[in-house]
């Protein structure tokens, strides 16, 4: 398949891995954070860490939208779903995310009308098909997904669909990156930037990272060769004394992004004063809410929500995983009390979550890594 096969070429991957090895010095440690959950998933799925030298450490970042949603927002969604006459529609993974009072799937088992959709447009179509019910779309996601919600709100207004609303939980990529960059003792030397978020916001959006924090960024696509090339590009910058934003994903990402998508988001949504992130705490202007002009479609104005702030389970260290402080398997409940079947924390729910990705693809590496020296 074009756009896939050429980016999975084993010979090319080996050549890039050799170049990466040549660009690190024996014994040093270079830490590269991949911001995006899609990259985390691809790294584990394709076993890319096996190709990398021990001097290069990949740190998994906060870019999985399921993983960063706080439990209180899940409880708010459940409250909407359990309102008479309401259908709550959302993406599949959100159904399993545990809130303080269980998951949406458990609410569905109790009788709530919860449905899985692949698009907010599907939820809008559902509202048109079932005019006697109110259909609320539980919207999550970074700037990749927010344009779909924006288009849906614009169509809902144009089509005068009165029985549709959005429970908006869209988040922005810059605030968590700043929070990570300002973490005391941060040990990340370079960033692999998210590919599809960048399709929308463009590569210029990351210039603050080299300019204010002195770390290079390479926006990357998702196939194995893409990721290896992006890591090689980061190391080449270092070797040549450069520190800038580069674009590996030139086949789709533009410097300025998709201006129509950004405009649609700006027309329908605006930044909130602040938003709670799992693992990162409350970050100012880090999420979007529905604008006043679309108030008729804003679930937060149509429903009374509990709005509770719920502490994560103490045993769960999703926060430390999301900020790259620990690896998934270093959490005490990883693979025992917390598994993809019964997730305790959000990182174990989505397949883009670092814990779930490692659980699915990476566990075979652990014995070798943990074998006692000389044992």
């Amino acid at each position: 398949m074009r756009y896939v096969d050429e980016y999975r070429d084993p010979a090319l991957a080996r050549a890039l891995a050799a170049e990466i090895r040549s660009l690190v010095d024996p014994g040093e440690v270079v830490r590269v954070m991949e911001v995006c959950g899609g990259h985390t998933h691809a790294i584990y799925r394709h076993g890319l860490e096996e190709l990398l030298p021990p001097e290069l450490e990949l740190v998994h970042g906060p870019g999985c939208p399921v993983c960063v949603i706080p439990m209180g927002r899940v409880d708010d969604a459940i409250a909407i779903a359990e309102t008479d006459g309401v259908t709550l529609a959302t993406f599949g993974d959100m159904l399993r995310v545990p809130g303080g009072g269980g998951s949406l799937l458990e609410a569905k088992a109790r009788g709530a009308d919860v449905r899985m959709v692949y698009s907010p447009l599907d939820a809008l179509a559902l509202a048109a098909q079932e005019p006697d019910r109110h259909v609320c779309f539980f919207a999550i996601g970074f700037e990749t997904t927010a344009p779909a919600t924006a288009v849906t709100l614009l169509r809902a207004r144009a089509g005068r669909t009165p029985n549709f609303s959005v429970f908006c939980n869209h988040v922005l990529i810059e605030p968590p990156l700043r929070a990570i960059l300002e973490t005391p003792g941060l040990r990340v030397d370079a960033f692999v930037g998210p590919g599809h978020v960048s399709t929308v916001i463009g590569t210029d959006a990351y210039r603050f990272i080299p300019e204010e924090y002195g770390r290079p960024v390479v926006v990357s696509a998702f196939e194995p060769v893409d990721l290896l090339q992006s890591i090689a590009m980061l190391l080449r910058q270092r070797a040549e004394g450069r520190c800038e934003v580069e674009n590996q994903y030139t086949r789709v990402v533009r410097r300025e992004g998709n201006r129509r998508a950004v405009a649609a988001m700006a027309e329908t949504m605006e930044p909130r004063a602040d938003f709670e992130w799992r693992g990162l705490g409350v970050l100012p202007a880090s999420a979007l809410r529905v604008r006043d002009a679309f108030a008729a479609f804003d679930a937060e104005r149509l429903f009374t929500l509990p709005g509770a702030r719920i502490e994560d389970p103490k045993a769960c260290r999703c926060g430390d995983v999301l900020t790259g402080q620990i690896k998934p398997w270093e959490c005490g409940v990883f693979g025992t009390a917390c598994t993809p079947e019964r997730p305790l924390g959000t990182c174990m729910v989505s397949s883009e979550g670092a814990c779930a990705a490692f659980f699915s693809y990476g566990r075979l590496r652990r014995p070798r890594e943990e074998a006692p020296v000389g044992g």
Binding site: G37, P65, S119, V151, R155, H196, T199, V200, V253, E352
Partner: protein
């Protein structure tokens, strides 16, 4: 879009490249594997049959440049 079962259903940053079969107003029919799906092309105007679109959450985010 029906995602690859190996990948995330929610897909903050997951998107699928798909070729346009036909265009009907603000919707395009795209080929995904052996199936077809409808995606909104509100944000990628001037889409034509044969284009390859990057699709996510039921809309096209961008056109892959090499196609024209």
């Amino acid at each position: 879009m029906t995602p690859d079962p190996e990948r995330c259903l929610t897909c903050s940053d997951d998107a699928v490249a798909a070729r346009v079969v036909s265009v009907d107003g603000l919707e395009a029919v795209v080929a995904v594997g052996r199936d077809t799906e409808r995606v909104g092309i509100d944000l990628v105007p001037d889409t034509r049959a044969g284009d390859v679109l990057l699709c996510h959450a039921g809309i096209a985010l961008e056109r892959l440049e090499e196609q024209r």
